[in-house]
Amino acid sequence: MSNNPFPLSSEDLMRAYRTMRTIRDFEERLHVEFAKGDIPGFVHLYAGEEACATGIMMHLTDIDRIASTHRGHGHCIAKGVDVHEMMAEIYGKATGSCRGKGGSMHIADLSKGMMGANGILGAGAPLICGAALASRFRGDRGVGITFFGDGAANQGTVLESMNLAAAWNLPVIFVVENNGYAESTSVEYATAVDSYVDRASGFGMPGVTVDGMDFFAVHEAAGEMIARARDGGGPALLECNVARFFGHFEGDAQTYKAKGENDYNRENRDCLKIFRDRVCDAGAATRHDFALIDLEVASLIDAAVISAKNAALPQARELLTDVYVAY
């Protein structure tokens, strides 16, 4: 398409949209299914924050590694983890990414460079330093991205890792997904700074804050950081200001939010709408193009839910396997 003013090809634009749409539908659907009582355990939805995962992951291949959080579905999908397997995992089925043993908080696919959602805040930061170190020893030019929330940003593990990455000049991008809340506690309460980017220079790395609801802003900032890290320029900190459309986990009454906050965000800060409008307005794609993707994704998610529901639970003997490679 000749009238494409964006730094992505039209295929990549549509790929980005498809990723964001897949995340959104995956999460919206989980919200519905969870309410029915079919889904076991804690489920933390990423809906609203899609542009962040997607804008970053568009720069990565399987050689690059990410470490995710308890709110990991979006990162997984954007990194290429199979949606059917993810859904089955969340239902605790034998066909899941982790054969039902991990659940929502532990989806991983090392073959895709996805080193795991994580139930422990901040735990991914050291791990990704290790992944980046491995890349350096192998000379494969891989970079590592570690995601954490505005709450987890205050874990010592994350802060230590920033220093380690800077001291060793590791190709690591630290991504704070600042959605304003850690469970019910606001970021204003939990810190005395306006922006986490203020911390970057104290560890010796550059930092940038972007509107995380704007795919293009994330994509651009992440692109520069990733390219720099890949070329040996060292780590960086990227703060994405985002909004989560749902509660902390499914079941959260969200009484700590301002009245109308969710509605406002859905109306004015929806990364999918913003993306679609900008691309259509620029004439780089049509509303019809988007609608087609919406349909495709809807049926993908439908199929994933149906097959997850129909899949078998793990068998009893699975309880004892996979603790060690050999014991």
Binding site: A94, H106, G119, Q155, Y189, Y256, V323
Partner: protein, 340 residues
């Protein structure tokens, strides 16, 4: 006045009573108030499962929500305790101890000894333990053995609302660091609990069922599995079990355990922890050393397997020791005794 209330409410009541009684009691934890400084309701959460709900309304800023920095705020609770406060810190899940373990086991636990008896650290760390919540490997562990292993800590794990209230009040008044383990799958279990304040001393086990044939020792959630097993055994095989609820793991009430084994000659220990170096081995070994002469059969241990906690309900349901497994273990002690 005694009413039926839940374990969760009993905890809340204990905290409320002690905060009212003693101004040096403060509380720290993630979202224990919830929404401090946010535009919405201030007392929004009252803890991740609502256990501390309503306390902020009564006690105001003696409850502090914390940044997500367990080393910092658990350590701050310990430091404040060493300076004369009686902080109750909440470590949301015991599984998170890995990010703040040093403050607990090298600081709080050792101050008194390292400082030649010149320190007191009356801190309580309330924390959720146990499986059965579909919360997977990092939110479901029964790490009681790790804390019981460590000198300087006291470790409490109640099995019902009555004990929870009395033991928590005791813990807050206790002058040593206490790890207070609350099984998340017991939170909604109700029983008769007095409205007033009362304490249950540490180191006193509870004989929750009397019998002459076999001693079943447990704590926390699995006490109920043990009781179910005892009922089955009585009904099906006319085997009468003494069921002992340890209630406090450190200190532990060896006398009650030994007395029971002297009477029954048979021991089954039921522990939701992993098998190696567990509470189960602790009790079985102690009894083997100190009541060997009384034992008519090999002591049996019923524990979780040597695996992390699986997510899938089909696997997790096999993870926590079942009443059937307890029945089978009792069967072994009887069969062997007969065979011998």
């Amino acid at each position: 006045m005694t009413r039926k209330i839940s374990f969760k409410t009993a905890i809340n009541e204990a905290l409320d009573l002690e905060m009212t009684r003693d101004p040096s009691v403060i509380m720290l934890g993630e979202d224990i108030v919830g929404g401090c400084g946010a535009p919405g309701e201030a007392d929004a959460w009252g803890g991740v499962l609502g256990v501390t709900k309503g306390l902020y309304a009564k006690h105001g800023n003696r409850l502090l929500d914390t940044p997500l920095s367990e080393s910092a705020y658990i350590g701050a609770a310990i430091g404040a305790a060493a300076c004369g406060m009686r902080p109750v810190a909440e470590l949301m899940f015991i599984d998170f101890v890995g990010v703040c373990f040093d403050q607990i086991f090298n600081q709080a636990a050792k101050f008194r000894y390292m400082f030649g008896g010149k320190a007191r650290t009356p801190v309580v760390i309330r924390t959720m333990v146990g499986a059965g919540f579909r919360a997977a490997a990092q939110h479901s562990q029964m790490l009681t053995p790790l804390f019981t292993q460590l000198p300087g800590l006291k470790v409490i794990c109640p099995s019902n609302a009555y004990d929870a209230k009395g033991l928590l009040i005791q813990a807050i008044r206790d002058d040593d660091p206490v790890i207070f383990c609350e099984h998340k799958n017991l939170y909604s279990a109700e029983c008769d609990v007095p409205a007033e304040s009362y304490t249950i001393p540490f180191g006193e086990a509870n004989v929750v069922r009397e019998g002459k044939d076999v001693t079943i020792v447990s704590y926390g959630l699995t006490v109920h599995r043990a009781l179910d097993a005892a009922t089955t055994l009585a009904q099906k095989d006319r085997i009468e079990a003494d069921v002992i609820d340890l209630r406090t793991l450190s200190p532990i009430d060896w006398d009650t355990v030994l007395e029971s084994v002297e009477k029954t000659g048979r021991l089954v220990v039921v522990d939701e922890a992993n098998p190696r170096c567990s509470i189960a081995t602790d009790v079985a070994a102690y009894v083997a050393q100190h009541a060997f002469g009384a034992l008519k059969a090999a002591p049996q241990m019923v524990t979780a397997p040597h695996t992390p906690v699986p997510f899938s309900p089909s696997l997790e349901d096999l993870y926590i020791p079942t009443a059937d497994a307890v029945v089978a273990a009792v069967g072994k002690t009887i069969a062997r005794a007969k065979a011998a």
